[in-house]
């Protein structure tokens, strides 16, 4: 090569280096501009698992193309009604676009809503699987990768409160039962002391081994069953052993029996349950305690004491994730749409808990589980306080007219007065009434509301009159029948106070209705209260919604503990059949009288 060629090569290299240097100087400014315009994603892969780091880096420029192909395939299969690949595609799409929250949001919604309803409602277990896939995607993968994205917390809460907690899905009771069963296993008695123990439980099994008795127990289990040799699945297997010992060796059950009264067993139980809450359900127990303290139900006998929230109810999970989202990712000073929606989920969850927050998980001998939901009046205080905060936020942060929200609060208080009275909580009803007349003594135009000047009992009578005056006989009978049936249900589950309250309310409504409609026609048409008791009793005994064991249990209990009522009902039955027989005879006579012969 000649010197001229060397000169050209050297010049070219120097120009190239200069250009590269110039280009690299521009990077800083371009990156800043990109951040300002919101065009860059946070792609810090420092804490990402190796598979994720590989997928996002190795694909290079093809990542976008591959993601497009996956999206097209997912949509195409969805159009054809083929969902076998939906979860896998969701996993891959979210693997390739992990920092794009909308991807996780869409995929979880697609699984929990679209795919689940494509399964017939005769397969609730299958449907539940897809709902779980949806919320687990958010809880287990999306949020850990995008902890500051509030939309993910909102979507997770929404699945709990709407898909599981609400009634629009045909299989909603199945979903609720699954959540309640899982929480019952993990949380057991939901007391503050229990939560203290759970919060104090060590984070790792190794810490527990410092207790000699615990170490001996664990060693004994390892020897008894090889399933306990693996430290990865130790907790899972232990909880399974506690629930279904038959899955393990007899020796393992014997070890349990040996340590039955040993405090070590209690420590391990607590540790295992806390471990599951933290690692499987991804819940922060300390935060759960904080939620209990903020929103827990208030005892009537001690208004300063809050019990834990009912974590068997999906609305509580919705609240947890909403509150967590607001704490971690919220910007309260700006109160964006996402914060507002997440806030509202807390509010609606509290309302739901007030209306149906008491859960009874009834397990029959054949293993069938039934969940019953009833109002939890203890949630009134939390609901009321949150409502007032909502009104305040609306006024201060949105500078809006909270007319609609205040109107809703007023109706809520009015209904609460009646509900508390009907349940026999007179003192609480009076306090609520006082609050109502203090806050809403005047209407929108500034005039005083006449009804609120009445004493509480008169106010209630007027409310009842307004409500029942539009009822026909049939509706009235149905209402009384419903109250009596509810009373028998409460009696069956040993909720005697509520049972008595319901029965008393049924009688009051009956007498009120009878008094208001003093007309001959109505008095003749309205069955006797004893007959209504009988029909409600038979309705309950024949209703397959309630487990047979529960119904027979109620019958047995009534025979043993309330023989007078049982006799009354039996007498009524005889009278009923006697009247029926007479009616039939009369009809037969009339028909034979009309026959041509």
């Amino acid at each position: 090569m000649r010197w001229k060629d060397y000169g050209i090569i050297l010049s070219a290299i120097m120009i190239a280096v200069a250009m590269l240097t110039l280009a690299s100087w521009q990077q800083g400014g371009i990156r800043t501009d990109r951040d300002k315009m919101g065009l860059s994603l946070k792609t810090d892969l420092g804490d990402a698992p190796p598979s994720l780091a590989f997928a996002t880096v190795a694909m290079g420029a093809f990542r976008g193309l591959i993601v497009d192909i996956l999206w097209i395939r997912a949509d195409d299969l969805k159009q054809k009604g083929q969902f076998f690949d939906a979860k896998q595609l969701a996993d891959w799409i979210t693997l390739l676009q992990p920092r794009f929250p909308q991807v996780w949001d869409f995929q979880s919604w697609n699984m929990a809503y679209n795919i689940s309803v494509a399964i017939p409602n005769t397969q609730p277990a299958e449907r539940w699987r897809w709902v779980r896939n949806g919320y687990e995607l958010l809880r287990d993968k999306a949020i850990p990768l995008n902890p500051h994205s509030i939309i993910l917390y909102r979507q997770l809460s929404w699945i709990f409160i709407h898909k599981i907690g609400d009634i629009s899905d045909d299989c909603h009771m199945y979903y609720k039962t699954e959540i309640a069963s899982a929480m019952q296993l993990l949380l057991g008695d939901q007391t503050n002391a229990n939560f203290e123990n759970l919060a104090a439980a060590p984070l790792a099994l190794e810490v527990l081994l410092s207790d000699a008795e615990v170490a001996k127990f664990i060693e004994a289990l390892k020897l008894a069953d090889p399933a306990f040799l693996s430290s990865d699945k130790w907790v899972e297997n232990y909880l399974s052993l506690r629930q279904t010992p038959d899955r393990f060796t007899k020796e393992a059950s014997q070890v349990l029996e040996l340590y039955r009264d040993n405090p070590a067993l209690g420590k391990i139980d607590t540790f295992a349950r806390a471990y599951q809450m933290r690692h499987v359900w991804k819940m922060d127990i300390a935060f759960m305690q904080k939620m209990n303290a903020m929103y827990g139900p208030v005892r009537f006998e001690d208004p300063n004491h809050r019990d834990p929230l009912n974590w068997q109810h999906p609305a509580v999970h919705a609240m947890y994730w909403s509150a967590k989202g607001l704490e971690v990712a919220g910007k309260p000073e700006t109160y964006r749409v996402d914060e507002k929606n997440t806030d509202r989920i807390i509010f609606h969850s509290l309302q739901m808990l007030y209306r149906s927050g008491k859960t009874l998980l009834y397990t029959s001998k054949d293993g069938r589980k039934d969940l019953f939901l009833r109002p939890d009046l203890r949630m009134f205080t939390s609901c009321d306080q949150t409502w007032k905060k909502m009104i305040e936020k609306y006024e201060q942060l949105e500078h809006g007219n909270p007319k609609a929200v205040r109107g809703g609060h007023k109706n809520f208080l009015e209904n609460a007065v009646m509900t508390f009275y009907q349940s026999g909580h007179l003192k609480e009803a009076l306090e609520i009434y006082k609050e109502l007349i203090t806050l809403y003594s005047k209407d929108e135009q500034g005039f005083e509301i006449a009804d609120y000047k009445l004493p509480m009992m008169d106010f209630l009578k007027k409310q009842m009159k307004d409500e029942f005056s539009s009822l026909g006989i049939r509706d009235a009978v149905e209402m009384v029948n419903g109250m009596l049936k509810e009373s028998y249900f409460r009696y069956a589950i040993y909720d005697d106070n509520e049972s008595a309250a319901r029965e008393k309310m049924a009688q009051e409504v009956y007498m009120f209705y009878q008094k208001e409609h003093n007309d001959e026609t109505y008095r003749v048409g309205l069955p006797t209260i004893d007959l209504l008791r009988y029909t409600a009793f038979m309705d309950f005994l024949n209703d397959p919604l309630y487990p047979e064991q529960m119904r027979m249990g109620m019958l047995g209990r009534m025979q043993a503990e309330r023989p007078d009522l049982f006799e009354k009902i039996k007498k009524q039955e005889q009278q009923f059949f006697e009247e029926l027989r007479k009616e039939q005879e009369k009809q037969n006579t009339e028909q034979s009288g009309e026959s041509p012969s």
């Binding site: 159009q79 009604g81 309803v117 896939n133």
Partner: protein, 470 residues
């Protein structure tokens, strides 16, 4: 024939020495068993089988296609480049025999590999239910919907009747409206109101009549007749009804509620005692615009192979008309094994075409260029159906231009998607008819491949092999 076979044997040996062949074989041997273990689909047995067979067949199809392209373009071009072809052309072997020999060699290699890997997929697929501990009902669902070959009969829309009704309506309105007919519309370009053409109005009316054919108003029902349904006479055989629902007003929860009835519905309606088979009622709430299936026992089909399917639109739950689209009755007509063999044959059709394409192109193009062209044509084949449908969906003006230029060219290209993709049949348990297979083979091999080979032979016959090509 001996000469052709000798060249073919040589080609197979050459291909087996290629690193790409080894890479493809090793890759498939590792990936297929791994996929059968790690792919879980939606967690059910059916989902697992569908996911594995979908990805397995697609992977085998893709890798064998790439191998075929590589081998078919390499074998001749390498010999030309290295001038090894001189050893052959100097022998009493005709040029067309060389082409046929190369082609035959690649095809035989494809057949061997296809038999082997299809066998692997088949073996793994039938083993999965035995190896996994699944409930009996899951196995039954997999048997009914995957390990089967189902025929589908779709509802035939009476287009002529719809067109006739549209014409009647048009005529009636014309008489009523007089000078105010046809109606006015806003012209796209000028923004001024102008009269629609008669053709435009008629086509709208025909579309409306077609929709009406498939619609059911709230509180009403509709029955569709399906004839010539011949399910297998096995006990516990099921008949499947597949459909997609849409409504004029989108329901807030995206779900449509309805009652389906399946059986000899006309006899039931007549009530003359001619009903001898059971009627099955199925209540379903189905999401909109998503294909769904439900099944009923096959004893609902009458002796003369008739089945009625009815739908009642529940007025209390659906506020608007419901359109039933893609209504189809599916029933078992064959076995999974037989259908799988036909799927493999459908894949072979694709490979034969690619072999012919590769060989033909290398008679006048160099190796890299030939590979590139093959890949482009292969990719076009994978999206052929999509492109043709897109052209059909274009507006009147530009669509007409494409109809006479691009579309005929696309017809010359192969089709590897939609009905020509074997994975779709296996996944949904649908039968690949021999007639369809023969048609696909006839088009792809009999016409297109043959055309390519003949062109290649003609080019190669006149080609100066001693001259290097760039």
């Amino acid at each position: 024939m001996g000469k052709i076979w000798a060249i073919a044997r040589n080609t197979i040996a050459q291909a087996m020495r290629m690193k790409i062949a080894a890479a493809v074989i090793v890759l498939l041997l590792i990936l297929l068993p791994m996929m059968s273990m790690i792919m879980i689909g939606d967690g059910t047995l059916l989902g697992k089988l569908q996911t594995f067979s979908s990805y397995g067949l697609s992977l085998v199809g893709l890798l064998l296609s790439i191998l075929t392209i590589a081998v078919s373009t390499f074998t001749l071009s390498d010999e030309l480049k290295r001038q090894q072809i001189f050893l052959v052309v100097t022998k009493p072997v005709r040029r067309w025999q060389i082409i046929m020999g190369k082609f035959l060699g690649v095809v035989v290699l494809d057949i061997i590999l296809l038999i082997f890997f299809s066998g692997v997929i088949y073996g793994l697929t039938v083993s999965v239910p035995r190896l996994l501990e699944v409930a009996d009902d899951e196995k039954a669902i997999a048997d009914d919907q995957f390990f089967t070959a189902r025929e589908g009969i779709k509802v035939a829309l009476d287009i002529q009747a719809a067109a006739e009704r549209a014409r009647e309506r048009f005529k009636k309105l014309k008489e009523e409206k007089g000078r105010d007919w046809p109606p006015l519309k806003m012209a796209e370009k000028t923004g001024i109101e102008e009269r629609m053409t008669e053709i435009e109005v008629l086509s709208i009316f025909v579309q409306e009549e077609m929709v009406r054919e498939q619609s059911v108003e709230p509180g009403r029902g509709r029955v569709w007749d399906f004839k010539d349904i011949r399910p297998w006479s096995e006990p516990n055989t099921m008949v499947f009804v597949r459909f997609k629902l849409d409504s004029s007003v989108a329901p807030p929860d995206g779900v449509i509620y309805g009652l389906w009835s399946v059986g000899n519905l006309p006899a039931y309606q007549r009530g003359d005692g001619s009903l001898t088979t059971p009627i099955y009622n199925v209540e379903r709430n189905s999401p909109t615009r998503t294909s769904q299936e439900f099944f009923v026992p096959a004893d609902a089909v009458t002796q003369d192979n008739f089945l009625g399917v009815g739908f009642v639109n529940n007025p209390n739950l659906n506020p608007s008309s419901v359109t039933i689209q893609e209504l189809e009755v599916l029933y078992k007509v064959g076995t999974f094994g037989g259908n799988f063999v036909r799927a493999a044959l459908l894949m072979l059709v694709r490979l034969v075409f690619l072999a012919a394409l590769g060989i033909a192109l290398t008679t006048w193009l160099s190796f890299p260029v030939a590979v590139l062209v093959c890949l482009v044509i292969f990719s076009a084949g994978l999206v052929n159906g999509f492109i043709v449908d897109s052209i059909d969906g274009l507006g009147a003006g530009i669509g007409q231009a494409y109809m006479f230029t691009v579309k005929p060219l696309l017809m010359l290209l192969p089709r590897f998607d939609d009905n020509y993709n074997p994975a779709g049949y296996v996944v949904s348990g649908r039968i690949i008819r021999w007639l369809f297979l023969l048609k696909a083979a006839g088009e792809t091999i009999g016409i297109k491949s043959l055309l390519l080979l003949v062109l290649g032979m003609l080019v190669f016959r006149r080609r100066e092999v001693a001259k290097s090509s760039v």
